[in-house]
Symmetry: C2
Subunit: 364 residues, 2 copies
């Protein structure tokens, strides 16, 4: 590959393996798989899911729903508490016959939907299982009942309960992640139990790549919506969600400067390429990415302790061990495993596969 500027490399084999593994895990548990497409946001990669039999997806904005609906996806959950200003855009998508699931956490939204939506949608109630971002706590039954009533009053279909246990990203061990999954399952299961007599078709839908990757047996939920697993990244590796061999994207970045005194390697490739996301280890060290050696057929982990110690707009600084430092010259292109592949892929806008194919994300 003739790479001369920061470029997001995609290992298609690893990516398709990640997709296949997750399909298998869902199938094995007899549950529904509705992958979150915000990580890749790319129709071409969407096709790789279709190839494995996936026929329903999750997105994080109405705009993303329109992008995938235009590509023929007919069953889409917009997994962000619905922004009532976007009913017009949702009507546009519904017009073509696409099934849309919206999520709500307050009854007020339903009165707007009743007034402004021209077609029926299904509604999930967002449950807060401990992440404390949006949603109703699972024990706030009265609030939930008010929303269920509002769904009925609006003439919409009550689809069930949906949560994103994003607090799994703050866990410090895989046991803690399993605890979060089990706690989520208990809370969501009890809600289903409570409402299933009246609404026998309701489902419970859970997301987040860490709990879904780490929990061996997913029976008990109806639907999973992980997204990041399609690429994984350094954060997932540090959480125990994947091995380093599962990570399917790295930023190819040209070396522009070396500092012999500080044993630092500086590359072109920074916050506008991989974002400023970092992970901190117990010693207080912050890591913004992991250098790897690029090979013709992919990339190879370094044996030593080199890491990206800081990023600015266009630069990353790598604290290098002696072996890595001595092996690298200006003009070399190395790889940086991103801490958060969702943000890196969003910033980069396209992927270059190892066989040289350029794949575009939605750039509208």
């Amino acid at each position: 590959m003739n790479i001369i500027e920061p470029t997001l490399l995609l290992d298609k084999v690893k990516c398709r393996n990640n997709i296949r593994s997750m399909v298998k895990k869902a199938t094995g548990a007899g549950i529904s798989f509705r992958p979150h497409f915000k990580t890749h946001n790319c129709r071409e990669i969407g096709k790789w899911f279709r190839d494995e039999g996936v026929d329903k997806v999750t997105v994080s904005s109405v705009k993303m729903a329109a992008y995938f609906a235009d590509d023929g996806w007919e069953d889409i959950t917009i997994a962000i508490v619905f922004n009532i200003l976007e009913t017009g855009k949702v009507n546009e998508i519904l017009k073509s016959g696409t099934n849309i699931n919206l999520i709500v956490d307050s009854p007020e939204t339903l009165s707007v939907l009743k007034k402004e939506l021209k077609y029926q949608v299904s509604i999930f109630i967002k449950i807060d299982t401990g992440y404390n971002r949006t949603g109703i706590l699972s024990d706030e039954i009265e609030k939930i009942e008010v929303v269920v009533k509002a769904i009925n009053d609006a003439g919409m279909r009550f689809a069930g309960f949906l949560t994103h246990s994003g607090h799994s990203y703050k866990a410090t061990s895989t046991n803690e992640i399993l605890d979060i999954y089990n706690d989520t399952l208990r809370k969501m299961g009890s809600l289903k139990q409570r409402f299933r007599n009246e609404y026998p078709d309701i489902v419970i839908s859970v997301g987040d790549t860490p709990t879904i990757s780490i929990t061996p047996d997913l029976r008990g939920v109806d639907e999973i919506r992980p997204g990041n697993f399609v690429f994984y990244d350094l954060m997932q590796l540090s959480l125990g969600s994947c091995t380093s061999d599962d990570i399917a994207v790295v930023l190819a970045a040209p070396v522009i400067s070396r500092n012999t005194l500080r044993k630092e390697v500086v590359v072109h490739g920074g916050a506008v390429h991989i974002s400023k996301e970092f992970i901190s280890d117990p010693s207080g060290r912050s890591t913004y990415g992991q250098p790897v050696i690029l090979k013709a057929d992919g990339w190879e982990k370094l044996s030593g302790d080199s890491y990206v110690s800081s990023v600015s707009q266009e630069h990353s600084i790598i604290k290098a061990d002696d072996e890595f430092f001595d092996s690298v010259s200006t003009g070399d292109v190395i790889g940086i495993v991103p801490v958060h592949s969702c943000l890196a892929a969003n910033l980069m806008g396209s992927y270059l596969t190892l066989d040289g194919e350029r794949i575009m994300r939605d750039r509208s």
Copy 2:
């Protein structure tokens, strides 16, 4: 304005005032003004600089140089240590007669330029005045002499010394920022002194918005290259570089959820809109943005203590004081002053002026 989704608002009056003020400051000191265009990366905003008589610019990548050269900018400094893999792209720009200044911090780069560049360029030596990212320390005279010799051997023009005192962003007081400026001036001045007999035309060029905004008298340098001042942001405000009235961009973000127990307001608008940049105050509180009230003619600061306490991919959570919390409903659109406008503007890709004009950044 009929805003329904995350949108970057630009107050053109404030922005043009920021440009005019900086032009005046440079003119008053009798020095050259070569603004960094990476912050706005937009030809339309470039025109506002032209209107004030600016005729030379700074960019942070060869790609950005090509974008502005195509728009008629004829004197461009590419202020990132030159990536030797991009000589072909530089030749393309030089072909049209544009003057290009490259920056280097090692002699090896020059032998590549000698071999591969088809036209002459001017070369700045990158000096590290304390930021410790790239560049040669100002007292490493032997190293500097080796690079000067390499510039001559390559048949290129030695333009002078260039630095970016980015450690000003870590300062905790304006006095510390003034100290950094004075230290920078002393180091750069002594280099000029040392080499001016042999190279009477060399200049010293300094960057970074904090030192340039805060230092009252810029005499002593030859050229300034600030960039962020065109918009300013919350980080600059916290450093003392600007007042809140100078900040020219905010993210308009729809309110999607409110939590009465935690007094939190959640908006659609997160890491893919304003980045994950944050500032920490001495108490350890991290702020990812500042909510403001949107008005027909701009935005208005809140009186209380509300702030963005966390961001995820599409969401920001605002810890709201009682007054702000009670004043906001789902479906309202509020403003978020970004911590780092360079990153927010890069993520958003376009600006909406207060009179409703959509202005595009380079989206290639």
